[in-house]
Symmetry: C2
Subunit: 311 residues, 2 copies
């Protein structure tokens, strides 16, 4: 029997609420952080956005592109007096960022993240952030294979799902505000528990990336011995597009969602072995049935991903 | 040491030669056969193209779209008096088609195919076709995930490679004519031996499709138990695009290129296992190095596949 996900769509309704006219800090002004900054500028033109990043060059690009009003490489300075802090760094850096930011966050500040792994992050945040600061774990299912402020894109979140994974202790008002923010950015907000999120994303996002890296690595190994890449076609091109995603980001995701990822990787290895065995045995009738079943999946996809997008 | 492929580009030069003003037969008026018919119409407007297909409905679409001047479901009738016969059926049907056509081919007729597997086809053709009929094994590396006459596309072969795999007994004049035809369709013609072709294509085309079917099948299995597909993103979307290719065509390719395919599938399984072990051991430094290497492959691809295309 197919279990339905412990998820529900946040009640629809007019976008209202979260229009911060004061200070918002975006830590990690990359593809996601930068694109969200662009949306914030549209939603609330008077909002003052401070960009925080490790790389000064990236911050300069962000400023030049109008993603942020000011910038700093100093997290403590960047979050001071902010009403909203969005942590949009690679997932493995979120803990470190929260630790540095924690003593400098003002009371009532809402902190949210955009990480592709949620259970570990929510636990860490709960132990790091002081009382009176509200953390809302979030994950916009959007992206491209590009990264950095240069890659930020208006409309990136439009029609995409944004998953929020509150715990029992998450402040409901803060949750509502972050939900409003993502709806204003054009996303459909879905609320589910963190573990369910991590399992689902391991299947539909982390596994495909892992497999793409493995496939492209295999072809690269073969090409090292005998030149084959010049004869590549569309099939391989799509794999290389996926495998062109940020290695650091995807290593972090593998590390943070290790358990769920390993489970689905092993499932995939078994399926692959079964298909390979069909070829070995010459059972091409069964092979075709398997291929036919896979072909049908395309129609079941999230329509929000009909256009290019990554992670 | 990296061995260079036993391949050479056919000498460049002005497109000349193959402009048949008489009868050309295309057997299998699908994506490739139909798109080649469109090119022939452009190259030689006075050419009379006969379409042969199992499906009358598909032939009617081909006629309506102007891909063919006339059509029949009767191979014997279709090839009669033709100067050129292009077999563009799924690879496993080529043998059957050649057997039916053989007694009806006129002396001097050139027969070519577009199959993704070459060694077996060339051997079969040599044993089936009568003396005085010239067979040139070919494979345009082009396509999309769509099929049928409806999917035929002008310019499909532009900037793409077309591999010809003549044997020692292939007629040189016939080879030159088929090379001219593909060049006129905008392709870069590459000549190599059939076994080398089959090995290269197993790596860069057949393996990616096989893996995509396995990956999408795995996610479908998971989704049957717990709904995960609604949370899919760009990574999975690309896999489902590849796995939406014709199941019959890809089963045929797996059957016809079994040996070379199994070899690369096993290589892939080893690479995947190695990556999985790195995650299990928590060696994320090595994992990132592997991801970084895969990321670089994108820049080495055949530039002809920068735009969408399949198989």
């Amino acid at each position: 029997m197919r279990r339905s996900l412990k998820a529900h769509r946040a009640a629809p309704g007019r976008v209202k609420g979260f229009i911060p006219c004061k200070k918002t800090t975006i830590i990690g002004v990359g593809l996601i952080g930068g694109s969200l900054a662009l949306e914030l500028k549209g939603i609330s033109p008077c909002a003052k956005i401070v960009g925080v990043d490790r790389t000064l060059g990236n911050l300069k690009v962000a400023r030049k592109r109008g993603l942020v009003d000011s910038y700093t490489t100093d997290i403590a300075k960047g979050v001071k007096n902010s009403e909203l802090v969005v942590v949009a760094t690679p997932v493995r850096s979120i803990e470190r960022v929260l630790k540095i930011a924690a003593p400098h966050l003002k009371k009532g500040c809402i902190v949210t993240d955009v990480g592709s792994v949620k259970e570990k992050i929510a636990k860490k945040a709960a132990s790091i952030l002081p009382e009176g600061v509200f953390f809302v774990p979030g994950h916009p299912i959007a992206g491209t294979e590009f990264s950095g402020a240069e890659a930020a894109l208006k409309g990136l979140f439009k029609g995409k799902k944004c998953i929020l994974t509150p715990t029992a202790s998450t402040d409901r008002k803060a949750l509502k505000k972050i939900a409003s923010l993502w709806r204003a950015a054009g996303s459909e907000v879905v609320v589910m528990d963190a573990r369910t999120h991590d399992k689902a994303l391991a299947s539909v996002s982390h596994l495909p990336h892992f497999v793409a890296y493995a496939l492209v690595g295999t072809v690269a190994d073969i090409d090292k011995k005998t030149s084959v890449l010049p004869y590549s076609a569309g099939g391989l091109r799509d794999f290389t597009r996926i495998a062109a995603s940020s290695p650091q980001m995807w290593t972090d995701i593998c590390a943070m969602n290790k358990r769920a990822l390993l489970k689905v990787v092993k499932k995939f290895e078994k399926t692959l072995e079964a298909l390979r065995t069909l070829v070995e045995k010459g059972d091409f009738h069964s092979l075709r049935k398997k291929f036919e079943r896979a072909k049908k999946v395309r129609g079941l996809l999230n329509p929000g991903v009909a256009k290019p997008g990554g992670c």
